[in-house]
Amino acid sequence: MATVTFEQATRIYPRADRPAVDTLDLAIGDGELLVLVGPSGCGKSTSLRMLAGLEEVDAGSIRIGDRDVTDSPPKDRDIAMVFQNYALYPHMTVAENMGFALRIAGVGKADIGRRVAEAARILDLEPYLARRPKALSGGQRQRVAMGRAIVRQPQVFLMDEPLSNLDAKLRVQTRTQIAALQRRLVVTTVYVTHDQVEAMTMGDRVAVLKDGVLQQCDAPGTLYDRPANTFVAGFIGSPAMNVVTGPGVDGGVRLGGAVLPVPRERLARASAGSGRITVGFRPEAVDLRAGDGVPVVVDVVEQLGSDACLYATLGAADDGDVLHTADLVVRTEPRSAPAVGEPVTLRVREDHLHVFDPVTQLRVD
């Protein structure tokens, strides 16, 4: 076990006009499960590969525990990695796959056998130890890849989208198992995914990246309740947060002809430069038909059983209104959901309103 520290770590691919990972500063605690999440091309896999030693670090440094591993080859880093495609050796049996790293390290045969058997027991792989990867299902291959990492007893686990090749049901089941296993083994783990649900459910902390830049690194609850900027606000949560920019007026922001109340001191700070203000609210933080409120017209109603999602457009759009999302989304009781085409008013619960600076896109508290 060990801590992992990225200090101003940067990776610039040859002939690229901007860094794939830009001055990343990240400290991962001992035994922590940190999830790196972000859209495609945000640099999350590159960051993981830099930590693994599979990608050069052009500037800055990476430390595992007290050791600076920036220039060390992968074999000297005491890490184990689970690849997106599993990368099992096709000509080796499950047991040989799991024991390969130990064999290279010169561990005795009896010891290898014991550790492989122990990992196989934990992962329910005992009946398959003599099989080759091609005779296993996707879920079993994924578990073998996990087993290959476990037997090493490394200081850090690295997982690069290990569930993306599984079907939806198996993915949910396996993500719970991985999280439970990690808590049981208490090994520092860096987990990469593009799926924000996976990130929120698994991580002790979640680091959100965009264009190679770290946007925010916090516990899942904090990330959801206090997003640091409009990108994190829109990326975390499903359906996404509604983010709207409008002119700041006395007492709030004018939206669709009505005024959405914003606390005075936040209003002053957010609209200081441009006189405009960006606000965000979660789909579930809205009361419908609350008398005075923002008028909208319902376009689509999605019935999900437990609740319903309304997709609506502003009823009387001002010239100054800018919707950052395609539609306003509201989550409501399925039985009392308004009909398509029905004009309704929205009222955002004040303590659930997020305020952002329209220029810097940063959160204003």
Partner: protein
């Protein structure tokens, strides 16, 4: 495998069935189902096999008759009892036993050398990042455009200076690696060897050399078997350079066969008997390596 004819489907309704039975049988396939081969397929396959096997059969027939019997009209079509007599005469006329041993040594060395060197070079060109990779590969492929004949005289002068004439190393060393083999292995490994496997090896602590032996070679085995077979056949059948570099005192099979059945009237029976003996080792190689060329070894390595 494709099929040429299968019976009409049961699901065809009655009028359509009448039409189908009146018209010639058409090919039908069902997704995900292996259909049985029809009579036409068998006929074509049988004909192809006959055409392929006939030269070998004729070699045996001709090698088991006397020279006069072969020249008769119609020629004999069944083997006779003189095969071992003719083989014995061929062995007396030329050192065929020594030639076979020499050919096995020469073709074996060339095959092992070529497969090893070409797999190493192919791996480097396909998967290792180094400066000048593309230029070097271009140069290697470029050598394929230089005709062998062009290099024969300088090559002979070289081996003569080394006093290697009539020594087997004169035939082995110049062909220990082939540009075609390098290109062939590079193409195979580029497609068949996922980068993740190599990265998994590196994370598992393997050196590049260890990765080559433990991961690359097992994955490359089907291609290595094909390259080995092609190389062995080419080396075994090579005539042009061995007849220059060797003499009939220390020949390879092709050089020895060239010296058989000499005289005003070539003794075809002896030539054929010698050829038969010289062909057998090649057949053995085919049988042994044919089994190695099985695809599907990569199945299951990464999720497809």
């Amino acid at each position: 495998m494709t099929t040429l004819a299968t019976p009409p489907e049961e699901s065809v309704d009655a009028p359509a069935r009448t039409v189908a039975s009146a018209a010639p049988r058409r090919r039908r396939r069902r997704a995900g189902r292996v259909t049985a081969a029809g009579p036409l397929t068998y006929l074509l396959l049988a004909l192809t096999t006959l055409v392929s096997v006939f030269p070998l059969y004729w070699t045996m027939v001709a090698g088991s008759h006397t020279n006069a019997e072969i020249a008769a009209t119609p020629p004999p079509f069944l083997p006779d009892a003189d095969l071992f007599t003719n083989i014995g005469r061929a062995m007396e006329e030329a050192p065929i036993g020594l030639a076979i041993v020499n050919s096995v040594v020469v073709a074996g060395c060339i095959t092992v050398g070529t497969v090893l060197c070409c797999t190493l070079a192919g791996f480097a060109f396909a998967k290792l990042r180094f400066r000048g990779n593309g230029v070097l590969l271009g140069l290697v492929i470029g050598t394929m455009m230089v005709p062998t004949q062009l290099a024969i005289i300088p090559l002979f002068i070289l081996i003569a200076e080394l006093q290697w004439v009539d020594h087997l190393q004169a035939v082995v060393l110049p062909t220990l690696v082939s540009a075609f083999g390098v290109f062939f292995m590079r193409q195979f490994l580029t497609q068949a060897l996922p980068d993740e496997l190599l990265e998994a090896g590196r994370v598992d602590g393997a050196s590049t050399w260890r990765i080559f032996w433990s991961i690359v070679v097992p994955v490359a085995r089907p291609a290595m078997a094909v390259l080995a077979m092609l190389t062995f056949l080419t080396a075994w059948n090579d005539f042009f350079w061995p007849i220059i570099a060797l003499t009939t005192n220390n020949p390879t099979v092709q050089v020895a066969l060239a010296g058989l059945g000499g005289g005003y009237v070539p003794d075809r029976a002896v030539i054929m008997a010698g050829t038969l003996v010289g062909t057998l080792p090649v057949l053995v190689v085919f049988v042994v390596l044919g089994k190695q060329i099985v695809g599907g070894i990569m199945q299951g390595a990464v999720k497809g």
